[in-house]
Amino acid sequence: MSDTRKILIADDSRVAAHLLGEIIESIEGCEIVDNATSGEQAIEYYDKYMPDLVTMDLSMPGIGGMEAVRRIIEKHPDAKIVVVSSLGGAQDKLLEALEAGALSVVSKPFDEDKAISVFKKLLGLK
């Protein structure tokens, strides 16, 4: 069995997905399986790949990221989802995302060290 951790990026921005991809690929043992660009596609890709971690942008077309978090968690309660947010230090949105089932939040613009630390912790990597 492979030790590679599968990561799904859910972000409709090519730029944001690229930046996140660079951070994730710098972590040894992580592989990006795909890039979903809507809330609906994030749910579909979760079922398809069963990733070890999902990074979820909140502002996405369709049902959006927050609803996608809720629906994925409803079906897969153990799903590991990190919300990626450009909302800065907004306590209300962070609380909503955590209550929806996300495990943590990474802010844009990305602080690489902090983001890596959050991803590694959730993936059980040292």
Binding site: R14, V15, H18, L19, G88, G89, Q91, S107, P109, K114
Partner: protein
């Protein structure tokens, strides 16, 4: 170092692994439960009766107005009374740290130590350095917008940016290449507009992708400007929240000069335009609000 992004104490504790997600949710909910409702305060100060509060709640079901604003509109509270009640509410809230301790998720010694560490880290978040003398609508939002846009031009675009003389645009904002805008709603209703040349957009894209030889791709430049505005507005929102005001925003809308040569300004709108100058070229930042 996080640099620009202000964050709240709970996010800091979460990132540091000092609090679990469930403990944070528990503490925030406890903190919320301790906030006195405006109606409770009004009742305590005998500004409103039980019957009047029920009447306002009933009316709230038919409108999307907040309790205090509705009470004033219905003539049950004066604006001065509402302001007094809101001040009392603000002065009586408990801090998140107190809530965390009250819930038993951290002892006071650890809290004090981590609060100090958090404050040290947040010192890296620079204050707003822009002061505008002119009398313009939503001045505070304009100041924050100018400050954040300049800082992000430096950080994300590696460009030195300086702002020029403020002007009012009455008809339209002429597209310099790529215009991306976001609508703010809440305590402030306004539109943040960034209007950049293709050269500046390309520079931001090259720095974002860390590739000086990045192929020129207009779709990618458009996407980069859109993401840039998304990040700037997220930081503007954080700064506005620090002042106690609430602000929501919609995802950015981006248009290029290939499809639209300008962005219209309606008769009932006030567009404050601030030109920006960089070594790559010029851009315009605008804040449009209804008058």
């Amino acid at each position: 170092m996080s640099g620009i992004i202000p964050k709240f104490f709970g996010q800091y504790l979460l990132e540091k692994d000092l609090l679990t997600k469930d403990q944070l949710i528990d503490s925030i909910n406890y903190q919320k439960s301790k906030i006195l409702k405006l109606g409770e305060i009004a009742l305590q100060y005998e500004y409103l009766s039980d019957k009047q509060i029920a009447k306002i709640h009933n009316e709230q079901k038919r409108t999307d107005m907040r309790f205090g604003d509705l009470a004033v509109q219905m003539g049950l509270l004066t604006a001065a009374q509402l302001e007094e009640i809101i001040t009392i509410q603000k002065n009586n809230h408990i801090y998140l740290g107190e809530a965390i301790c009250a819930c038993g998720h951290m002892d006071e010694e650890t809290l004090d130590r981590e609060l100090n560490n958090f404050k040290e880290e947040q010192k890296a978040v620079p204050p707003i350095e822009v002061m505008i003398k002119e009398d313009i609508p939503v001045k505070e939002l304009v100041e924050i917008s100018v400050d954040m846009t300049e800082k992000m031009m430096r950080r994300l675009g590696d460009m030195i940016s300086k702002s020029g003389q403020i002007k009012r645009e009455k008809e339209c904002i002429k597209n310099l290449g790529v215009i991306s805008y976001m609508e703010f709603k809440g305590d402030i209703n306004a539109r943040y507009v960034l209007n950049v040349s293709w050269d500046i957009g390309f520079q931001i894209a090259k720095r974002t992708f860390k590739k000086d030889d990045l192929p020129y791709d207009e779709e990618l430049i458009k996407d980069t400007v859109s993401e840039y505005v998304n990040i700037v507005c997220g930081n503007i929102r954080s700064k506005v929240l620090e002042t106690g005001k609430k602000l929501e925003f919609q995802p950015p809308v981006t248009i290029t000069d290939k499809t639209s040569d300008s962005l219209a300004v309606n008769n009932n709108e006030y567009a404050t335009v601030i030109p920006g100058y960089t070594q790559i070229g010029n851009y315009e930042l605008a804040v449009v609000t209804r008058i």
